[in-house]
C-alpha cells in the first residue's frame, strides 16, 4: 500500500494505481475527456493535469498516466492547474464550438468564449457538427480493443484528423458503433464509416419496439436476473477483441470463454411446459400488420400498455401522440378455416383488458370487432358487463379489412376498419388511430421435434395430446411425462397455473411411490423362436425392444412397453406375442364372430 496526499487528504491505495483513480477512489473529482476503463492511459486531452510535489520538486503531470508514489502530494485544484485547464478549455472550444460536452466542460471553468480561431483544415468525412478533439479514443478502441482497425489519424498540425483510410467508406468496419459510443464529444457518425446504415438489435422481449445491446438482461423479471451475451452480435465473438464489459464489471462476473453445455440428467418424470407462440399477423395481409405503423399485434400493445414497457405504460401511437380512437379486432388467426380452426380461448379476455386500459388511460373510443364474446371464466362475464357500462363499443362481426384509403374527410389520415355488423346487418367503416390485432395462440416452435423426442402424441393442431380429455388431462400416453400450460392447448393464466400444479403433483407422486405399475398387456419375445431379425425393434415407437448382442435375439424392456402390439403384427416368425392379446385369442374371437354356433378352439 502506498500513502499519498491529494488536496490535503491522506489517501492509501495499491501501488500501480494512477493518481486519477486514487483521487476518484477518495471522491475527489478530476475532469477527463480521453480516459476510459477499457483503454490504457494515454494522456492526450491534458484536462486531467494536476500539480504534484515529490521530493521537494513540483511539476504538472496528467493524472491519468501518473502512477502513485509514497509520500506524493497532489493538488488537483491549484491556481496553476485551474489556469491551464481554462486555457485548454478555450482551445477545445475553439476547435469544437458546437459540442455540448465541450461547452459544458468550458462552463465549469467559466469559459464561454475562446480567444482562438478554429483550426483550418479539411474536416474528416466521419466527424459531424460536434467536432473532434483528437483524443484518439476511437482509433485506439477500434484498433487495440476491438481489433478491427478501421480508423486512424491522418495529417499533421491543423490538418490532423481521425478518418478511414483515404477517407473512403471502410470495408473492414463491422458497424459495431463502439467508436461513436466512446467519443467524448459524440462527434463520430459511424454510419459514415461504412456505407451501410447499421441495424440496431431489436429487443425480443419488447417485441422489437425497443433495442438492446449484445449484452443485456432478457427482461425485467428474468430469473436469475443476470445479463446474457448474445453471441451472434457480440463483437468479441467476431474479432476476438473488445471485452469492454469484462473490464467494467467490478465483480469480474463476465466470462466470454464460457461454452454452451449439454447437461444429461437421469430423471423419473418430465413436466412439459413449452408454452405457445403467437399467430403471425403478417400472414393476414388484409389487416395491414407490418404495413401500417399503428396496426399492432396483441403482444406489442401489451408492452406498450405495460408500466415497464417502452412508453412507460402510456398508450401512444408511433408518432408519440395518444390515439383518439382504437379498434380491437378479435380472432386474428383463430376460428379461421384457413389458419387455426380452434378458439385460442384467451383473446376475448385480453382484448377486454386492453379496451379497459385504453379507456382508462386515454379516454379514446374503443371498438371491438368480435365473432362471439367468450367470457367463460370466473368473474369474466362481469368484467364484460362492466366494459359495456364503460362505453366500449362492441361490433358483432369479424373485421374484413384495415385500409388507409379514405373515402370521406373524417377518414383522412386514419386507419379505416371495414367489417360487417351482423347485429345491424350493415357494413361499417370505422376510422381509428390505432388497430390492435388479437392474435391467436399456436403451438410453440419446435413442438413437433419435442413430441418426437418424448414420444408424445399431438392433436391435429400439434398441441400435445393428454391421456384422457376428462380423467387424465395432465398425463400423457407415456407414463411419467406430464403436460402443463399452453403446450397442451390454449389456456389462460389460472388454468395454466392449475395444470402446472397438477403436473408437479403427478411427478412428485411418481417419485414418492418409487414403483411403476404396468398394464398386463406388454409384449414378450419367445427366445426359442426369435431369430434376431430386428424387425420388431424397427416397429417399436417406444424403443422398448433391445437387441441382446450375446444371445443374438430381441428382448422386450417391459418397463418401456406400452402394449400396442405393433411388434407382434410385425414379427414375421411369430416369436413376438402380446399378453392377453395373443394371436390365438384373437383367432378364437374371429371364429366366435363368424361361427357363433361352434365352440371356439383355443390352440397353443
Amino acid at each position: 500500500m502506498i500513502t499519498l496526499t491529494i488536496d490535503g487528504k491522506t489517501v492509501r491505495t495499491e501501488s500501480g494505481t494512477t493518481v486519477l483513480n486514487a483521487a476518484r477512489g477518495a471522491a475527489i473529482e478530476i475532469p477527463t475527456l480521453c480516459h476510459h476503463e477499457s483503454l490504457p492511459p494515454y494522456g492526450s486531452c491534458r484536462i486531467c493535469l494536476v500539480e504534484v510535489t515529490q521530493r521537494g520538486r513540483t511539476r504538472l503531470v496528467s493524472s491519468c498516466t501518473l502512477p502513485v508514489a509514497e509520500g506524493m502530494e497532489v493538488n488537483t485544484k491549484s491556481e496553476k492547474v485551474m489556469r491551464i485547464r481554462r486555457m485548454l478549455a478555450e482551445l477545445f472550444l475553439a476547435r469544437c464550438p458546437d459540442s455540448k460536452v465541450i461547452r459544458e466542460l468550458a462552463a465549469q471553468f467559466n469559459v464561454t468564449k475562446s480567444r482562438f480561431r478554429k483550426p483550418v483544415g479539411e474536416p474528416s468525412s466521419i466527424v459531424g457538427e460536434e467536432g473532434c478533439i483528437l483524443c484518439g479514443m476511437c482509433v485506439r478502441l477500434c484498433d487495440d480493443v476491438l481489433k478491427i482497425g478501421a480508423l486512424s489519424f491522418e495529417g499533421r498540425g491543423g490538418g490532423r484528423r481521425v478518418t478511414t483510410p483515404f477517407g473512403e467508406p471502410s470495408d473492414v468496419c463491422m458497424t459495431c458503433g463502439a467508436c461513436s459510443s466512446i467519443c467524448p464529444t459524440g462527434a463520430i457518425e459511424h454510419h459514415r464509416i461504412w456505407e451501410h446504415v447499421p441495424q440496431r438489435i431489436p429487443f425480443e422481449f419488447e417485441e422489437g419496439l425497443t433495442h438492446r445491446k449484445p449484452i443485456y438482461i432478457p427482461f425485467a423479471q428474468a430469473v436469475p436476473r443476470v445479463p446474457v451475451i448474445d453471441k451472434h452480435t457480440c463483437m468479441h465473438f467476431k474479432t476476438n477483441g473488445c471485452k469492454v464489459c469484462e473490464d467494467n464489471c467490478e465483480a469480474k462476473a463476465i466470462r466470454h470463454a464460457q461454452e454452451d453445455e449439454m447437461v444429461e440428467l437421469d430423471v423419473g418424470a418430465i413436466v412439459v411446459a413449452t408454452g405457445f407462440q403467437l399467430f403471425d399477423a403478417r400472414q393476414l395481409v388484409r389487416y395491414g400488420y407490418g404495413r401500417f405503423d399503428n396496426v399492432l399485434s396483441a403482444l406489442e400493445f401489451e408492452r406498450i400498455s405495460h408500466a415497464s414497457g417502452p412508453t412507460g405504460g402510456k398508450v401512444l401511437k408511433k408518432d408519440g401522440t395518444p390515439p383518439q380512437s382504437v379498434a380491437i379486432l378479435h380472432c386474428i388467426g383463430s376460428r379461421d378455416e384457413n389458419y387455426q380452426k380452434y378458439c385460442s380461448r384467451v383473446c376475448c379476455m385480453y382484448s377486454l383488458k386492453f379496451a379497459h386500459l385504453i379507456r382508462e388511460k386515454t379516454h379514446a373510443d374503443v371498438y371491438n370487432f368480435y365473432i362471439d364474446m367468450r367470457a367463460f371464466g370466473k368473474g369474466y362475464e362481469e368484467f364484460y358487463k362492466r366494459l359495456l357500462a364503460e362505453g366500449v363499443y362492441f361490433i358483432r362481426g369479424k373485421a374484413a379489412e384495415v385500409t388507409d384509403a379514405a373515402e370521406s374527410p373524417e377518414e383522412k389520415g386514419k386507419l379505416i376498419v371495414i367489417g360487417e355488423d351482423t347485429l345491424l346487418g350493415l357494413t361499417r367503416r370505422i376510422p381509428v388511430d390505432m388497430v390492435i390485432l388479437s392474435t391467436g395462440i399456436k403451438p410453440a416452435q419446435g413442438a413437433e421435434e419435442l413430441a418426437r423426442l418424448l414420444s408424445l402424441s399431438c392433436t391435429q393442431g400439434q398441441f400435445y395430446l393428454e391421456k384422457h380429455p376428462k380423467l387424465a388431462p395432465v398425463d400423457t400416453a407415456s407414463d411419467g411425462i406430464f403436460l402443463a400450460g399452453a403446450c397442451q392447448g390454449p389456456k389462460d393464466i389460472p388454468d395454466a397455473v392449475a395444470q402446472g400444479a397438477a403436473a408437479a403433483a403427478g411427478a412428485l407422486a411418481l417419485i414418492d411411490g418409487g414403483k411403476v405399475v404396468l398394464e398386463p398387456i406388454t409384449s414378450e419375445i419367445d427366445e426359442k423362436l426369435c431369430a434376431g431379425c430386428k424387425i420388431c425393434i424397427a416397429s417399436c415407437p417406444y424403443v422398448a425392444i433391445e437387441f441382446d448382442e450375446e444371445k443374438k435375439i430381441s428382448r422386450v424392456i417391459e418397463e418401456l412397453c406400452k402394449g400396442c402390439g405393433t411388434c407382434v403384427a410385425a414379427c414375421p416368425s411369430g416369436a413376438a406375442r402380446q399378453r392377453n392379446f395373443e394371436d390365438v385369442q384373437i383367432y378364437a374371437e374371429i371364429e366366435g364372430i363368424l361361427h357363433p354356433e361352434t365352440e371356439p378352439v383355443l390352440r397353443e
Binding site: 423362436l529 431369430a531 434376431g532 430386428k534 424387425i535 424397427a538 410385425a570 416368425s573 411369430g574 416369436a575
Partner: protein, 326 residues
C-alpha cells in the same frame, strides 16, 4: 440282420430332390450300405404292381417328393402310405406345394388353354386336349386326371415327417436318415429342420440396422443386390425372417435373397401375411398415396410371399382340409 428297405417316389416335381440323393456323393455308399432301395423310379424301372406285391411294413420308409396334381400320383402315394410305416414328405413341393403349387393362382382351364391353344409354338388346329380315356387303334387308353389344383402331400395322405427345402440340403437328409436308423425321431408331424427363422444363421444379419425405412421394394430381376449387406436393408424382399432356417443359406451365399422354400416357422399361421405384416412395418409411407405407391412396388404378392407355399396358405389351405376325407 437284414437291411431296412426304403422307397423314393416323385410326384409333381422338377427332379431336383432326387438330385439331392445323388448329391450325397460318396455318402450315398453309406446309405446303400445301411439300407436297401426298394423303389426309385428316377433311377430304375419299377411298376405299380411291384409295389402292390410288398408286404405291409416290408419297406420301412417312403421318401415322397413333389406335389400332387394327377390322379396317378394320388394312387401311388396312397399305395405307399398303405405299405410303409413311415412316410416323409421330401422337399418343398411335398411339404407345402412348392413351385408347382403357384399354379393354384389360376385355374385348370387357363392352364390347359395356355398350354394347348394360346402358346405361340403350338399348332393344334383340332383343339385337342388331354382326356382321361381314349381309343387308339382299338386300344382303350387311360390317362391320369389333371386335378383342378395342386395339393401338398399331407392333403391327400397322412404324412409322418417333413423334410423342407428346394431341395432339402444333404446335411438335413443325412441327419434325418441317421435319426430314422437310430429310431431317434421327434414327435409325429414335425418338420425336420430348426424352428428359428433364417436370420438366426444368416451371415448378413450382422449388417442389418435396427431401424429400416424401405422406400420401395426392389426386385432381383431388375437390379443386383450388394452381396455383403442385408437384402431387406437394401429394399429387396428377403423371406428369411419368415422362413425356417436349416438350408445352409445357399441362396444368400449365391447373392440371392431368401425365397422361402423352407416354409413358415412354427409360430406363424400364414407365412405370406406374416411377412406382409413385417414389410408393412419396415416400409416408409405416411399418407394413403405413398402407402399405395409403396404397395405398388411389391410386385406379384402371391409369387413373392407364397412362392413355395401357396397351396398351404391360410386362404388356399381350405381345400386341403376338405380333402382330408379322401
Amino acid at each position: 440282420m437284414a437291411k431296412p428297405k426304403v422307397a423314393f417316389y416323385w410326384c409333381a416335381s422338377c427332379g431336383g430332390c432326387e438330385e439331392t440323393v445323388v448329391d450325397l456323393a460318396e455318402d450315398i455308399l453309406k446309405v446303400v450300405e445301411a439300407v436297401d432301395i426298394a423303389l426309385w423310379p428316377v433311377a430304375l424301372d419299377f411298376k405299380l404292381k411291384d409295389v402292390e406285391t410288398w408286404q405291409p411294413g416290408e419297406v420301412a420308409v417312403a421318401f415322397i417328393n413333389g406335389a400332387v396334381r394327377l390322379s396317378e400320383q394320388h394312387e401311388w402315394v396312397r399305395l405307399l402310405r398303405e405299405k410303409c410305416p413311415l412316410v416323409i414328405a421330401f422337399g418343398s413341393c411335398a411339404h407345402l406345394g412348392g413351385i408347382p403349387g403357384l399354379a393354384n393362382d389360376t385355374t385348370r382351364e387357363e392352364i390347359l388353354a395356355n398350354k394347348y391353344h394360346r402358346s405361340l409354338t403350338v399348332d393344334n388346329p383340332n383343339r385337342v386336349e388331354p382326356r382321361t380315356a381314349c381309343t387308339v387303334n382299338g386300344y382303350e387308353l387311360e390317362l391320369p386326371l389333371f386335378w383342378k389344383d395342386v395339393k401338398p402331400l399331407d392333403a391327400v395322405i397322412d404324412v409322418d415327417y417333413y423334410l423342407p427345402g428346394c431341395p432339402p440340403p444333404t446335411a438335413l437328409v443325412a441327419q434325418a436318415v441317421d435319426a430314422i436308423l437310430k429310431g431317434a425321431l421327434p414327435p409325429k408331424g414335425s418338420v425336420l429342420a430348426p424352428e428359428k427363422s433364417l436370420c438366426e444363421s444368416c451371415p448378413l444379419n450382422e449388417t442389418k440396422p435396427e431401424t429400416l425405412a424401405i422406400k420401395e421394394f426392389k426386385r432381383v430381376a431388375t437390379s443386383t443386390p450388394e452381396p455383403d449387406r442385408c437384402y431387406l436393408a437394401q429394399g429387396y424382399v428377403c423371406m428369411g425372417p419368415a422362413t425356417r432356417s436349416g438350408c445352409g443359406e445357399r441362396c444368400i451365399h449365391g447373392n440371392m435373397p431368401c425365397r422361402g422354400c423352407f416354409g413358415p416357422t412354427p409360430g406363424a399361421l400364414d407365412m405370406g401375411t406374416k411377412m406382409l405384416g413385417a414389410l408393412g412395418t419396415l416400409g416408409e409411407a405416411d399418407s394413403d398415396g405413398t402407402a399405395m405407391a409403396l404397395a405398388g412396388t411389391l410386385a406379384d404378392p402371391i409369387g413373392t410371399l407364397y412362392r413355395f407355399s401357396l397351396p398351404a396358405s391360410l386362404l388356399k389351405r381350405r381345400c386341403i382340409e376338405k380333402e382330408e376325407a379322401l
